[in-house]
Symmetry: D2
Subunit: 274 residues, 4 copies
């Protein structure tokens, strides 16, 4: 066995803690109205059809968009002036009605170094204000306070504290009236400048959304997805990491390889020693 | 930073190889007719609605069962004589039309030691015969040949070679006429006796299916899910692991926490040193 | 040819006017959050796949509940104290996970006499107040004013004027905050007393909904569906009939025979001479 | 009241017979694999959530294409050389991802004279042979035998007898191996020459399908939909009409106004005197 494999398995034996960064998918959870809502039903429940030997199987029927719940955006999700990442013509990327190029099936599973940037922790608040734009100085102050280094290829998760509204106040979480705090064009450019592989946030759109403006302008998406090929993970659960001061971890993401789709629901993990 | 976390991150730096054990989800892929087929469409493509700044977003609409493509069975999937794992009454486990107890949302993400049992490798064939039951001596001979130990808490993947039919001959993969090779009651009991946490296979139902018999009897499901609380992962891609002789690895599975569902589509990973 | 058939075909030749009483199904239209929303996408558009001869076909993918848009409730929709219409045990009516008894497939197509009761026309208002209960005297005054007779087997459509909010103010149409005007227990009993076959309204739930109370109590559903086996049609378009003073007509309803379902989307018609 | 309305209502009083020409929609019914299959589940069954007053409502979740079960093709369904009916550019007909022009919502409800052409009745067989092309002489011989006249604006239903396979032998009904009897280019041109408004058949694609050829060439669709703007209704139930010798009737079709879709599931009716 390879030495690195042995090291990994030794870590498993030593005891790992897996912090779940994904939202439970439930019917009625907050989401953008632009996407088909998550729905679930059981066509067969136990007892509906029992085999002669007393066995019975229950099963499911699911209907959903791919940008609902915790999810990752594929590079095919956003175009600018008709072009996807790498200057690929958006029309040509589509074959037979699916994004053969840059679709969700092209997202490689991630087992990478992860970094949490706990911005409200730096600002000494529980949650950033609605519509607050996380600026470069917020990001740099957080890096300094936490004493972390962002390396090329890392996955950087930017916490705003806004996730607290997901369960308690769904309309507030989507924030159409109030706006939502997040990274804007400047912050996105700063993140891209560090050569990160993917970014994530505890909000619905990663971006700073202005009050009442909806999702009309998404500059961070343009910078990250189109200009730099950096994946975006949205609606993450980041409060546990912040609470426990876990700022560096092994980040794992295994998107469903949905052929030709523009994103995938995911359950991201932060893995650390127990 | 915790020493184990440091060890994990050192492994990341040293270089990892992530072997993808999941099938790409495509419309028309082989599956059991008992479940809603995977369907995907793009309600919005690039160009359908372009913002004033030249930006455009595409998105998706998905419809599917949870036991299609590569997937994991929740413990709520199968009952015997009206009882789920742990003697839980199947009717009582259901609240408001969903399996609040033992549903897919209760499957903890797995970062565990994984073991491949390459049975056709032991028998010197490319693929086991349709309807072949993988017996205890096959499993033991494979353990011996590979020189591996199965530990409590491991995830054990039993390869049959049958995955080769997935793309090339879908009706053969589902095997309604021919039958499918797999583990039966004896093999399942043997696996459970080793205290494994989950098992997987490169076939549609994990089980040995007799020719022409369909999914009428599923003894391994009863032994594993109901009697021992061991998760089952189906329709995996195991050929790459066998080809490269990777028999031990860090196994990662992060099922979607679908509230109250009986399973989840997944993309399992085998992580080793590069 | 049968004389009645000849009479029908003579009417066709003489010239018919078909008044459409159904809402166009569009993504985002107002509906109750209790039901899966209507979603539509084109998996294949023209040009995605062109045959050698220059032909191309486009097609669709739909996801929806059955109580969205204009729809009819099957008798299986509502139970009281565990019993459906006719004292049928609700659990026994379900076989293999569908309402084999009293499901939508058991609704016979309707070609019947239809009567519009234009209540706001009687009260001299454009639209009834939110939460207004249409009482027996409103119904009787409308019958008197219109000079119509309600016969056994007729389909009676009770207009409130509330349909005006469907397009212009969707949250108002669903009326969770404001309440919705409609028939209550007394009015439903009065309608049932006339031996009608089905009833309809231009509101989301037929019933009078109290402000802020949601769909928690549905007495008219109990009286009509459970106690008398009278079908209910909701979210109808009734303004054109009122505008043109069409109070009697040939009513046509052809629900989709969705096996075992609790309702069906429909496009009801009022047919009169041109 | 208008005299024609009175005539219609007199017919209702005299007694009508409504012959149901639609298939029951059931999970697993035969259909083309090109379209999302019909699926249905009950997210809520009676007893899942009972109100304080003992009332309970059950509801549904549906997923389907629009060209499954008995359905009507909108003019947006088929294009030839990039053009829809009327020379409309197929790309321009699409706005915001839906066929704003010629979509299913543009199909007016039909209350028209209907004519059955019982071709196997003319040929003295129970069912036409697989792959048999119904030619002009078959159509003309049937018109002669039945003593009917096809008028402009009529809806003409061409029976092949093939509907008998729908329930008893689903793969035979879709006929991928065997082929399916139906009208070809010549017959379609003949029908269009009579100025009919819509046509229908008891087969999956209306067309004659050659054995093993699938749906690769659809000349009747081109002639009818694209060249003449004539709607096509498929997978109808026509055996009852033939059995009872009903060759002329009042035909009713009320497609769901699915905005921008290429077709709609329907339940067509033939109405005659009782």
């Amino acid at each position: 066995m390879n030495a690195t494999t042995a090291q990994l398995l030794a870590a498993v034996v030593a005891g790992l803690r897996v912090v779940d960064l994904g939202r439970t998918l439930t019917v009625g959870m907050p989401q953008s109205p632009n996407h088909p809502a998550y729905w679930h039903s059981l066509p067969r429940r136990h007892g509906d059809m029992v085999r002669a030997d007393g066995g019975s199987a229950a099963n499911d029927m699911i209907s959903m968009g791919t940008h609902v719940g915790t999810h990752v955006d594929a590079l095919a999700h956003v175009s600018q002036d008709g072009l996807l990442h790498g200057g690929l013509d958006a029309a040509a990327a589509l074959q037979g009605g699916r994004y053969v190029e840059l679709g969700a099936h092209t997202i490689e599973p991630m087992v990478r170094r992860g970094v949490l940037l706990d911005v409200p922790g730096t600002l000494g608040v529980a949650c950033l204000d609605p519509g607050y734009e996380i600026g470069i100085q917020d990001l740099e102050a957080t890096v300094r306070r936490q004493g972390v280094v962002i390396g090329a290829g890392d996955v950087v998760l930017v916490r705003s504290g806004w996730g607290r509204h997901f369960d308690s106040d769904p309309p507030q979480f989507t924030g159409h009236a109030s706006g939502v705090p997040g990274v804007g064009e400047a912050g996105a450019t700063w993140l891209a400048g560090h050569g990160v592989h993917a970014v994530g946030a505890d909000t619905i759109a990663f971006e700073r959304l202005a009050p009442g403006a909806g999702h009309g302008l998404l500059p961070a998406h343009r910078v990250l997805l189109v200009e730099h090929g950096i994946y975006i993970i949205e609606t993450m659960v980041l409060d546990q990491l912040a609470r426990d001061g876990i700022h560096e971890f092994c980040f794992v993401l295994s998107p469903l390889p949905l052929f030709g789709a523009t994103g995938s629901p995911v359950r991201p993990l932060a893995v650390v020693g127990a």
